[in-house]
């Protein structure tokens, strides 16, 4: 089962913020983490992550820094900011509402 395109797009921002809230990271590692956490059900087109990251950077939700990586090339590392954490909290509340609503409906469906 693969998650639909719209849902993937909608969940991209909270996912990225939540992963960065665990610790600083970079593009490739974020994608790996998403695949790992979702058991491969959330399929991102790899390149699409970067516009999302840049948008978040522009909005001040994440901060970025170029640092050398273990391979010798420099790599852009992202860190969540205070605003980003607030944004993540907001996302979390919204998703909980959606989740709670659907859960309620489906629980009822089970009983009937």
């Amino acid at each position: 089962m693969d998650v639909g395109k719209d849902l993937v797009a909608a969940s991209a921002t909270p996912l990225v913020l939540a992963i960065l809230a665990e610790g600083d990271s970079y593009g490739y590692a974020i994608i790996k983490r998403v695949a790992e956490l979702s058991g491969g059900h959330l399929q991102w087109t790899d390149g699409m992550l970067y516009p999302v990251l840049h948008r978040l950077e522009r909005q001040g939700h994440v901060a970025a820094k170029w640092s050398p990586s273990e391979s010798g090339r420099r790599r852009k590392y992202y860190r969540i900011t205070k605003e980003g954490r607030a944004q993540l909290a907001a996302h979390r509340r919204q998703w909980q509402v959606v989740d709670g609503t659907l859960r309620g409906l489906w629980m009822k469906a089970c009983i009937v």
């Binding site: 087109t45 790899d46 516009p51």
Partner: protein, 456 residues
């Protein structure tokens, strides 16, 4: 990194890099970032046992189509899109047909605007014969609705959903004409000056296709407004030359063309030019570099020097500001100018770049403008009771306060940014969020001032 020594693979990566670089929405460091990703992916795939070629195919495929990717990048960085128009494939395909359709729409709207200003003449209101005040009050109403129609069409907005945009224009028409303004009325003149500012917001809503809450769209509208002003001035200069030639050439054969120039050429041209200039800005936004930011860069240092020298002279000689009756207007204009410089500098700046010398200069400009205005306000406040509250003075004072609030907070945000405590995006957001305030105040002046001051 053993696999990276693979020569053919390196060549393939280099080829891929040049393809990505060609996308104008994806710039220098972004390409590097994407390449880093590609290489990480390649390393992992080859470690899993794939050959260089296989790994490259898989990695590129996972990266996604370059078209879709550059579209997403363009969306995330709209200032790049504005500078270097990315023609998305689907837009390129239909561009020839829509190009012709757009030309026709624009020309008919321009002609409609040119004719609209002649319509009141059918009802006996003469442009050059005593009804100038009527025309001044209604000037924006002849052309802004048509400009709005252009954007509604251009952005492919449904006619039904955009119909409510007629409401502000209808309200504007009512308030410009319902009040019994006597001849030479100050409040009538204030309406003429403020109605365009109030209605410009409605044009802006059409420009951003109703998505006023999307910040990028609003910043684009700010850019558009600046470019429009520049194009309009250029067209007006050309129009002036045309008018001059018309007069002198007909004068040479003993005919007086003044009635034509004053009654038709200038008013109709002035209206049509708004539509034409908007169209030019829309069409050329990708072709030429923006002018407004260039002028900003040029004049920010000069105005900073002017203000500093002015302050120094005032402090040195101790000569106070000579508070004449309408001196407040002059300082309002100064603040408008400084806000404009800040706004357009912000519109062209890469929000992620670290603070540089120009940013420090901007802060200096804003702070010196605040000091100058503070001194002027102090002088005026001391004597306001002497002058009494006329409509002009209350309007000017209100505007001064609105601009002062904007600049004070801008200075604060700018200073935070310079000390790396805040982001430039915060300043950009503040400027954008503040835009409707100008229109709201202008609407207030149009609606409330005439009855408040007895239409004088």
């Amino acid at each position: 990194m053993t696999t990276m020594a693979d020569r053919p693979l390196e060549e393939q990566i280099a080829l891929w890099r040049t393809y990505v670089r060609r996308r104008q929405a994806v710039q220098g460091p972004d390409v590097e970032e994407l390449e880093g990703h590609l290489r990480d992916q390649l390393t992992e795939l080859t470690q899993a046992g794939l050959t260089g070629d296989e790994a490259f195919l898989v990695a590129v495929r996972r990266m996604g189509s370059l078209d879709a990717l550059s579209r997403e990048f363009a969306r995330a960085h709209s200032e790049r899109l504005w500078k270097q128009l990315v023609l998305t494939p689907d837009a390129a395909g239909e561009s020839a047909a829509t190009g012709l359709a757009e030309t026709l729409v624009v020309l008919s709207l321009a002609v409609a605007a040119a004719l609209a200003i002649k319509v009141p003449a059918l009802f006996g209101l003469r442009l050059a014969g005593g009804d100038e005040a009527f025309y001044l009050r209604n000037a924006s109403l002849f052309v802004f609705p048509l400009l709005t129609v252009y954007f509604v069409w251009k952005r492919g907005w449904g006619a039904q959903r955009s119909l409510w945009l007629a409401v502000p224009f209808a309200a504007g028409a009512v308030f410009a004409n319902i009040f019994p303004f006597p001849k030479g009325s100050n409040t009538g003149m204030l309406t003429a000056l403020h109605l365009p500012i109030a209605l410009w917001l409605a044009v802006g809503v059409a420009y951003v296709r109703g998505h006023w809450s999307a910040e990028d769209g609003r910043m684009d509208f700010v850019r558009f407004s600046g470019e429009l002003a520049i194009y309009y001035v250029l067209i007006a200069l050309g129009g002036g030359v045309l008018t001059g030639f018309t007069m002198t050439m007909f004068f040479a054969i003993g005919k007086n063309a003044e009635w034509f120039a004053q009654g038709w050429l200038i008013p109709c041209g002035a209206m049509g030019a708004v539509i034409i200039a908007s169209w030019l800005v829309e069409a050329k936004q990708g072709v030429i570099e923006n002018m407004a930011p260039v002028l900003t860069r040029l004049f920010t240092p000069l105005f900073t020097i002017l203000l500093l020298v002015f302050l120094a002279t005032m402090a040195w000689t101790g000569s106070p500001i000579n508070v004449k009756r309408e001196v407040l207007i002059g300082f309002d204009l100064l603040l408008v100018l400084v806000v404009g410089l800040v706004l357009y500098a912000a519109s062209a700046r890469d929000p992620q770049a670290p603070p540089d010398f120009f940013d420090a200069l901007q802060v200096l400009l804003v702070i010196s403008a605040l000091v100058v205005d503070g001194v002027a306000l102090g002088a005026i406040a001391a004597r306001i009771s002497e002058f009494g509250f006329t409509p002009n003075r209350v309007a000017a004072l209100g505007e001064n306060l609105i601009l002062l609030v904007n600049l004070t907070w801008s200075a604060w945000l700018y200073a935070r940014f310079l000390r790396r405590r805040g982001s430039f995006a915060a300043l950009e957001r503040w400027q954008i969020v503040y835009l409707p305030v100008y229109s709201a105040w202008a609407a207030l002046v149009v609606v409330v001032f005439p009855p408040l001051f007895g239409y004088r």
